[in-house]
């Protein structure tokens, strides 16, 4: 039988960590703005400061992401196969060629970053390159190029900014405007801050919803570029580690272990799906299935 593949590390812990990181970053960000607001800075100055902070994030998005993921930019000589695929995809889509990076980790994954098409970087992990076949790598990189083409880094940055603006509008109504407030001391500041966190949590949910929508759009982009939705389906199944869940032992040899069989199959949606940056695997594959069907009927 086939050689036993090592089970890929689950993504759940990573997602949770990233969500908490986002929450803490947002808390610090809003906390900073709230303190400035209590120090008497007016609404418009506050908005400018917020815009500058997000601007830094926006203009240095590629550097921030590359540094935090440990991705290394590679030359065509260092990674000829990866570059060849990117070259071909760029020629097909008419996009300027992004810089190409490899993340030296075994977890199969890929991402795109950079504020504009010219400044974009596409990164793939070593685990992805090792485990996926050529077609599947093409499909994944086409997905990432679709993010670049859809300008998703810009979209998501603007979305975060809009939620900040919306939050301060709510605050100014709730507290009777920025100019007419009187200083209430520490407890007032705490209340404002707690409400700010709640509003921020809601806005995070909304941006995550937007993010999931962008992922589905990038999946569609990949299917259109390659013309083969099934390549991405196959890649997603490999990356997600779903196949690793299937048992290797024959049903008949498992017969002695009856107790395992009476455990009811659990199903149902996890609350984590609300916070997820990516739509569920099932949703993504279903969309690709529909596309494949439509393409087949043409």
């Amino acid at each position: 039988m086939n050689e036993r593949v090592r089970r890929w590390p689950a993504d759940l812990g990573l997602s949770l960590r990233m969500f908490l990181t986002m929450l803490i970053l947002g808390a610090v960000y809003l906390g900073f703005l709230t303190i400035l607001y209590w120090l008497g800075i007016d609404f418009w100055s506050l908005m400018i400061i917020a815009a500058v902070m997000l601007g830094i994030q926006y203009f240095f998005s590629d550097k921030i992401v590359l540094a935090s993921s440990g991705a290394k930019i590679v030359t065509p000589e260092q990674a000829p196969r990866l570059h060849a695929i990117v070259d071909r995809l760029c020629a097909e889509t008419g996009l300027p060629k992004p810089r190409v990076a490899i993340v030296p980790t075994d977890v199969p994954n890929a991402f795109a970053t950079g504020r504009s098409q010219k400044h974009s970087v596409i990164a793939a992990t070593q685990g992805l390159l090792n485990r996926l076949n050529e077609d599947e790598i093409v499909a994944v990189l086409a997905h990432e190029l679709s993010h670049v083409r859809n300008r998703d880094v810009a979209v998501m940055t603007i979305a975060s900014f809009i939620s900040t603006v919306a939050y301060y509008f709510i605050m100014s109504f709730a507290f009777g405007g920025f100019r007419s407030r009187d200083r209430q001391g520490g407890s007032g500041l705490m209340i404002v801050y707690v409400i700010s966190l709640i509003v921020y949590g809601i806005s995070l949910l909304l941006t995550r919803l937007l993010s999931r929508y962008r992922e589905l759009a990038a999946d569609r982009g990949s299917a259109y570029i390659t013309g083969r939705p099934s390549w991405l389906i196959s890649a997603l199944l490999k990356i997600s580690g779903q196949m690793e869940r299937m048992p290797k032992k024959d049903l008949r040899s498992e017969e002695g272990l009856n107790q395992f069989f009476i455990v009811p199959a659990l199903s149902g949606r996890s609350i984590l799906e609300l916070f997820a940056t990516h739509p569920s695997l099932e949703k993504r594959i279903r969309q690709l299935e529909r596309m494949e069907k439509a393409m087949g009927e043409q």
Binding site: N2, F261, A265, E282
Partner: protein
């Protein structure tokens, strides 16, 4: 059920075999992946010695012989020592009815702990795709053997396609069954 019953060894509840009939309508949906039904089915159960078991086996064969859903059948034993009743019916609907009747007989005879699976053969082109009904789990799962491997992608896509109309088991219980004799 008392608290102590929980710790007592007990027989499994009788399988809910009515779900078998959901396979026929689901087969229409599977056509989207060009997976087509056949009339071939098999029941796989753990052989035990004894007069009652032999009586039960011949009972099953008698039921199949007199079935209104005309079928040819054979009995064989595999390398795991499991008994297979292979039923060759004209259509999937007939195969389901025959398996249902035989299952009912097994369960009524008190042998529900010994039935492992009912397996229905489908085909994609010339390649077999099986739908396995696991009696203990009361759920189906697909199995598409390709040599020594299985086509997990096809299996997963079939699951997505029919999971609303057919009780499909969690992926953790998709045990392969190598060497299905039909």
């Amino acid at each position: 059920m008392g608290l102590l019953d929980f710790f007592r060894p007990r027989s499994l509840p009788p399988p809910k075999i009515d779900d078998l009939f959901k396979l026929t309508p689901a087969a229409v949906t599977m056509g989207q992946l060009r997976v087509e039904p056949t009339g071939m089915a098999g029941m796989c159960f753990r052989s035990i010695g004894g007069v009652t078991f032999e009586d039960m086996k011949s009972g099953i064969l008698k039921v199949l012989e007199n079935s209104a859903f005309l079928a040819r059948f054979s009995v064989l034993t595999d390398q795991f020592g499991f008994t297979w009743v292979v039923i060759d019916s004209d259509t999937l609907a007939d195969a389901v009815s025959n398996v249902y009747m035989a299952s009912q007989l097994l369960i009524e005879g008190g042998f529900s702990d010994h039935i492992t699976a009912a397996i229905f053969r489908f085909e994609q082109g010339d390649l077999p795709v099986y739908w396995v009904y696991n009696y203990r789990r009361a759920a189906f799962y697909p199995f598409a053997p390709r040599g020594n491997e299985r086509d997990m992608q096809l299996e997963y896509r079939l699951r997505l396609l029919v999971m609303d109309e057919l009780p499909v088991d969690s992926l953790d219980y998709w045990f392969p069954i190598w060497g299905i004799p039909f």
